[in-house]
Structure formats: structure tokens, C-alpha cells
């Protein structure tokens, strides 16, 4: 729950612009980008995701470092990805 996981923005939902499809380690899910309304991300940019919401924009290098770190922590990250997989935000 407390882990921030990096995701790459794939597309903004044309009907609901506060939703975006992101790619997290190959898992593609919808997340909410409404908290970045002051500086909205565009496809190709990276965001740090907490419980289905993008909380900050990050650069690709930070995303890679964060991902390497998360993969190193093991079970807690696997649980988070499993939970993300089960998520059906719409």
C-alpha cells in the first residue's frame, strides 16, 4: 500500500481525461491522474503510482531505479503487483 510504483503512461482515456492507461512491468491497467491536474502527464511520461493514483511525475531514469529497487524488495512488491493486476478501475 505504501509502495510507490513507477508506470509509463500509455494513453489518456478520451472520455475521462482523469484516467490513463499505464504500463507497470508489463501489466497494463487504468489509473487516475487527477492529482496531477496542475501538470498532467502525456503518453510516454512516467508517474509514481500509489493505490491507483499517480502522485508525481518522474523521469525515466528515476523510474528504472525505482523499479530495480522494488524488484529487490521481494514479497511486498509482488503483493502490490498482484493487487494491481486484480484492479479494475474505470
Amino acid at each position: 500500500m505504501c509502495l510507490g510504483i513507477p508506470g509509463e503512461v500509455i494513453e489518456i482515456n478520451p472520455e475521462q481525461p482523469d484516467l490513463a492507461k499505464v504500463d507497470v512491468s508489463g501489466v497494463r491497467r487504468m489509473i487516475n491522474i487527477g492529482l496531477l491536474v496542475d501538470d498532467p502527464p502525456v503518453p510516454g511520461e512516467w508517474v509514481l503510482i500509489h493505490v491507483g493514483f499517480a502522485l508525481s511525475k518522474i523521469d525515466e531514469r528515476e523510474a528504472a531505479a525505482a523499479m530495480e529497487f522494488l524488484e529487490g524488495i521481494g514479497q511486498a512488491y509482488e503483493d502490490e503487483i498482484a493487487a494491481l493486476r486484480a484492479s479494475l478501475i474505470e
Binding site: 487527477g34 496542475d38 493505490v51 502522485l55 484492479s87
Partner: protein, 377 residues
Amino acid sequence: MRFVDEFRDADKARALAAKIAALCEPGRRYKLMEVCGGHTHTIYKHGLEDYLPEAIQLVHGPGCPVCVIPMGRVDDAIHLASQPDVIMTSFGDMMRVPGSGGSFFDANAEGTSIRMVYSPLDSLKIARQNPDKQVVFMAIGFETTAPSTAMTMLRAAREGLTNFSVFCNHVTIVPAIKAILDSPDLRLDGFIGPGHVSTVIGCRPYEFIASQYGKPVVTAGFEPLDILQSIYMLMVQLSQGRSEVENQYSRVVPWDGNQAALRAINETMELRPYFEWRGLGFISHSALKVREKYAAMDAELLFAVPGVRVADPKACQCGEVLKGVLKPWECKVFGTACTPETPIGTCMVSPEGACAAYYNFGRMNRNRVPEAQVTRA
């Protein structure tokens, strides 16, 4: 030295270890608190204490949201979930936290419906799919997750959903830090500030720690080098007699936080006069409740919540661990009666809890890297 090779930049870590050791004043001891449970996890996972001289002690703080939920709130949640036509939803981290009569998992085994969700937005979907049920989201967490709950409430309001509500247990980090600073049990020299919470609130709220209490604060990222770098920054301040708020994690944390997130929280929630924290007791203005404007989504108003205060089990010393007074292994039941499989206290439940982190990765014997030895000329 099996941990030394476990992260990529061990050479840089050793270089930092040497710089940190060089800043230690002879005969002085330093206690630095990492506030955030994510940092505690990294410290144990990567054996970062091995990179610090003996004079520096890391003290684990209260920043694990699951760990600070008192038993009474778990009982209240199970009571809510067992009302007719209620579906409760919760983050997975919360499911094994023991209340006085068992955890959410135990309650489910007895027929209660508490569903795990990844995001509060998943609860909205469950509410749409079950118009004849009341869906109650067990909202927990610091300012990192509070904006998500707030945004979900705003979305529910826009959609006109009438069967979604929130059992609000959001807590705020600054009053907890202040409670620790005011506690006579513990004398700290500085703080490793939380990373993700600061993404939302920024660094300004910590300024009182530096200006009123004279302690340096460095907001830190989560990788091993981030934490060592922030310890170095704290030690530089201490060696120069400064106390300021610095931001080691500026690549993610803006100094002023995330204004949209703060607006969403402020629109939907307000401070409670007081809230009970496990182990820390009642702390003034330390938690959030649903604003009256959104009363229709406040589970505490929609349902009769018993609100019974339940004392922690006598054997459990989570309170002392959360305040940093005891190390996890100094608790009487650590690793014997209390394990991650059968937790007695909350600190053993969450992977961010100090006890679980120590149980999974910790060692009694430290194997300090040579660079971390303080050499005397």
C-alpha cells in the same frame, strides 16, 4: 558479508560510510529516527546499519500506517462489516491486523464480507455493481493515501452514488513526530523525513522541527544510497551545528508538495480533535474525518460504530517500538509468540513494520564495513 553485494552501488555506499564516519565527534553518540516504515524496510533489507559507525543509532519511527491503527478501530471495522447488506473493502495490508476478536481474515472466515482492493476506486466499482448493498471503504494511511480516498469521494459525489461510504482512519504524520519530540523517553538528534508522504505535504510542515526543536530533518528517497546520503546530510548539519530542513529526494518531492492532493483532502476531510494511535495513545489533531459536507459518505454517521477502546495485549510492546524506545528484538514476545504468521502486535503485520522487517531480514550480529569504523588520528 552477504548484504554488501546485494545492491548495485556498494562502492558508493562504502564511500558514503567513510564520509559519515569522519563526521562523528569523538565520544558523541547520535540517534537518528527514520520516520517512514518504507525506510525501515530498506535499512534492514540492505543491512544499512553495517555502513554506519557504532556511534550512530537508527531509531525506527511511527510511519507505518497499518502499525498505528489501534485494536478498537479494527473491532469497529469488523462491526461495520458485519451489518446486514454491508460489503467492506480494505487494502490487503490491513487484512491480518489483529483486533481484540481477530483480524479481517478471521472475520471473513466467520461469514463477514471484507474484500481486498488495490485502490479505493475499486470499491466504487463494487458499489456500482451492488446497488442493493452498502459498500464501506476502510480508509487507512498517512497523507500518501488520503488524497486517493478524497478523490474517490469526489468521484462518488459526481456520479451520485448513494451506496458508497468511507470509514476514515487517515492519520497525519506531523503530530506524531511532535508527540515523539515531546516524549521524555527519547532524545533524538535528527530525522530522516518520509519520502512519499512528503510528495503530498512537501517539506515545509517539518520546519518547526528545525526551528522550534533544533533538530535537522532530511527528506529521503527509498534506495539504500538515498538513505545513506540523507544520513550524511544530517551528520553534516550536526557537525556544523545547523538544524534545517533539507530535501535529498527532490527528484520526486517538490518543496511545496502536491497542491491538487492537498486541495482534495481539504475539500473532503477535516482534522479530528484527537485520535488514538496504537502505542502512542491519544494525539491531538492527528487524524482526519469526513467533512460534514460529505456526511452522506461518512460510515461513522451512517452506522452505529461502537467506538470501544481496547487496550493492547499486555505482552505486546508495539508502543515502545513505534516510539523507537525499544528495538524490535527487545520486545518480550518478538519472534516467539509474535511472528509474521501469528502477529500479536501491528508492527509484525505490515512489511513496513519494524518488527516484520527485522524478523525477515535482521541479524543480531552486525558485520560493519571497514569504512564505517571511526578512526582516531
